[in-house]
Amino acid sequence: MTFLEKLMQIDRRWIYLAIGLAVIIPTIWPFDVPVTVSPEVRKIYDFVDEMEAGEYLFVCIDYDPSSMAELNPMAIAIINQAFQKDLKLLFVTLSQFGPGLVEQITSGLAEDHNKVRGEDYIFLGYRPYPAIVIMAMGVDFRVPFPVDYYGTPLDEQPIMDGIKNFDDVKGVIEITSGSTADFWLIYGNGRYGFPLAIGITGVMSANFYQYLSSGQLFGIIPGVKGAAEYEKLVGYPGEGMAQMAYQVIAHTVIILFIIMSNVAYFATRKKRQQMGGGT
């Protein structure tokens, strides 16, 4: 068996080893990756940037810890930008593991920016059945959430003075790893017509570009790269920028493997055909 034939049937453990080593390299020798900002990310940044202090931004954290490495950086970058601009933030989660993540993110960032819960931001909490919750919030935030996540009635919190439903928020940013983006598009943007943008895992992003073209979304932050772009715009280099090094190395290794696989495939094709092994 020639080298190329062996390459065609390489043991998957060698691929695992290569990927393992690839993600260790940036840990030992960290390096910066130049990031080009894409228009779909810039639109979200510009939208938040053009908001006036005191205006309301609705942020939905709809992901689990399994996706936090990819989605936390963009959530943090958006919240940093919003707190810097003194915007009022309303948080909600439609993912069952979301509450812990929102508490983790908001408590730290609020302390960094000297923001007070109930005055500058509020975490409404978690409710099951995303479509129902979105439609109920469209009537009044108090319908699905009479009290916030910590048990304080919404009407006792200064941030909720004079605010009823999506008509009173400037826009909604949905950060998700699941199907909740569809619910926000259909039952949120479709029914109540508020401006909607999403931050989403890289692997899912291709499914949502159609909504960008149709105007149902005004922006998309796709995966770690999108997060790194947003961090660059906000001026807070964080986990997104750091993870780009890992992503670049891992993708390079995968691309090299694909090239190797095809070289081996074409080089051994004639021999396989002669042996009656098909294409």
């Binding site: 990927i19 689990d64 936090m68 408590s107 059945y129 699905p144 694909i258």
Partner: protein, 205 residues
């Protein structure tokens, strides 16, 4: 009557919810909000059933030597997470509940999900081969889209334009076709359920 009453209830509710969507008045909003409350109440009532089922299945597994350990871990984790969040103040950072979430659940989920990278690499090695014209198109498209993550200097701008076109034109066309198919299928199924033609959701007698 065992089948007729549920079919009638589904039909009336389905029609009512369909009609209220197009009538933006006070009473339709009331019906909508009221029915939403009912959905949430029904969902909450289903939760104890799920918990009971989970506990029952795992308590019975405690007697099976090979599976005893895993069931014990599951039951212990379940009880600890429930008992540590009985008070609202335990939901804030620094509480035992949040420590369990941060130092146990988060690493577990992150670890399991990160294994995906290895499987994707292995699958890409075997799947992305130019075996036919269609496979070659798929390969080239994936190649171009993947290259956007790499810093390629002056080529990056050109590559970004190509990726933008792929995502906004062919990708959009295919996705819209799929979504329209799903939408039409869902509408047809919903109409069949409302009219009582589709009855499999009630199970078998």
């Amino acid at each position: 009557m065992k089948r007729e009453i549920p079919i009638l209830l589904v039909g009336i509710t389905g029609f009512a919810m369909l009609i209220q969507y197009f009538i933006p008045t006070g009473w339709s909003e009331f019906i909508f909000t009221y029915s939403q409350d009912w959905v949430i109440v029904i969902g909450i009532l289903a939760m104890p059933l799920g918990i009971w089922s989970l506990v029952k299945a795992n308590v019975s597994k405690l007697k099976v030597p090979g599976e005893r350990f895993y069931s014990a871990v599951l039951l212990a984790g379940f009880l600890i997470m429930v008992l540590t969040c009985l008070k609202r103040e335990n939901l804030e950072m620094g509480s035992l509940h949040m420590d369990m979430f941060t130092y146990v659940l988060v690493p577990i989920q992150a670890t399991i999900f990160s294994l995906l990278a290895f499987f994707i690499a292995s699958a890409a090695y075997r799947a992305f081969r130019a075996r036919s014209v269609l496979a070659t198109i798929l390969l080239l498209t994936a190649f171009i889209v993947m290259l956007r993550f790499l810093p390629l200097g002056p080529i990056s701008t050109l590559n970004l334009k190509a990726v933008s076109w792929i995502l906004s034109v062919p990708n959009m066309a295919v996705n819209r076709a799929i979504m329209m198919g799903i939408g039409l299928g869902a509408t047809a199924t919903a109409i069949k359920i409302i009219l009582g033609i589709e009855r499999t959701y009630m199970g078998h007698d």
